[in-house]
């Protein structure tokens, strides 16, 4: 456990430092955030023609309410936590990479649900929007990370059991 925590914290600091570097922001984080906005718009637009999307902004035509998807709203921080935890835990690299891929997907699915729900919530009530944006959704996203990690540990544990039985 101590070894895990040490590697986890080390990776966390390294990945966050990498994330805040200007070239990484310019070439990876900002385009990825824009892509998330486009994807959210692509999900909403077929069902709601009162919505317009431009760049990283989603806006209601009638009320004018708009949200801009900024860095920090892109789930990258949560993904970094998950990646650090998965790499810090001893396993085969193939398992780690699959877990990172699926975990990243799980986080982004939640994050798109978050963006869309906040967009509609903000148009309805700004107090509810602020509360859920600042406190509830970050908690749910981290819970998502935690659940993915525990499920990954269970998968590793189950996988190792038949091998132990065979070798016994």
């Amino acid at each position: 456990m101590t070894r895990f925590v040490f590697i986890f914290v080390l990776l966390l600091v390294a990945l966050f430092s990498l994330e805040v570097l200007k070239p990484v922001q310019e070439h990876l984080i900002v385009p990825f955030t824009g892509m998330l906005a486009s994807l959210s718009a692509a999900i909403i637009l077929p069902f709601d023609n009162s919505v317009i999307a431009y760049g990283k902004v989603l806006q209601f035509r009638d009320t004018g309410f708009a949200v801009s998807i900024e860095a920090g709203c892109n789930g990258i921080e949560a993904a970094i936590v998950l990646i650090a935890a998965i790499i810090a835990f001893p396993a085969r690299w193939r398992d780690r990479l699959v877990a990172i891929g699926l975990g990243f997907l799980a986080i982004q699915v939640m994050n798109i649900a978050r963006i869309i729900s906040l967009f509609y919530l903000g148009d309805w009530n700004m107090v509810a929007f602020s509360w859920i944006h600042m406190y509830l959704w970050p908690t749910l996203i981290m819970l998502d990370v935690l659940i993915v990690f525990v499920v990954y540990l269970r998968y590793l544990s189950r996988k190792s059991k038949p091998m132990e039985a065979t070798s016994a």
Binding site: V20, V81, T139, M142, V150, R154, S157
Partner: protein, 202 residues
């Protein structure tokens, strides 16, 4: 079978417990922040006596009052100003780690709940105090600017250090810290023991 029960029980309980814990926190977040605001007030007024007047509780938020006034967007000495310049700080940005931790803790099957909960709460509260300090430093950095950084004979952290630690404390720590404390405290719980493959299903 038992393995699935632990996971299912945890998932159901954690989602159910998030509702009352966050409701309780919404009501109690003001009083909850009082000791931390008092402590950070003590640190800031001793650290920057020429810049910080006081940090006090204002409803569910903190109000950081400076030793300056303001006229047309420019910082002026208090003697020449009509009012004292202050900034709102929102401790809720940091304390929502507490209801999250509470839900995680009580959703996990354990032999003992209360003592470990109090330890976890205390650790998170200390992290909150540290975070609140950087929340205030960021306000001073952004709003007081050069005057804050150029205090003769006073050590002021570098702007990048304040910026990074502020981001870390606001964006990451409030959700990450409870998760880590929970993982650490629950490492012997059936949920994690089974997940780690250390015990066999019965």
């Amino acid at each position: 079978m038992l393995e699935q029960n632990h996971m299912r029980q945890f998932l159901i309980f954690v989602f159910v417990l998030l509702i009352p814990t966050f409701a309780l926190w919404t009501v109690a977040s003001g009083p909850l922040a009082v000791p931390a605001i008092g402590l950070v007030n003590l640190i800031l007024t001793h650290w920057f006596p020429d810049v910080v007047n006081t940090l006090y509780v204002d409803g569910s938020q903190g109000l950081l009052m400076t030793e300056f006034g303001e006229k047309n967007g420019t910082l002026i000495p208090l003697a020449e100003a009509e009012y004292r310049l202050g900034f709102r700080v929102n401790p809720g940005l940091l304390t929502y780690s507490l209801p999250f931790y509470t839900a995680l803790h009580f959703a996990t099957q354990k032999k003992e709940y209360l003592q470990s909960y109090l330890w976890g709460f205390m650790i998170l509260y200390l992290i909150f105090v540290f975070g609140l300090l950087f929340l205030c430093l960021k306000e001073l950095m952004v709003n007081v600017g050069e005057t804050f950084f150029n205090q003769p004979g006073v050590f002021v952290p570098d702007a990048n250090v304040i910026g990074i630690l502020y981001q870390f404390n606001v964006l990451i720590i409030p959700t990450l810290a409870p998760a880590i404390v929970w993982l650490w405290q629950s490492k012997d719980s059936p949920l994690l023991q089974i997940a780690l493959g250390r015990t066999r299903d019965s």
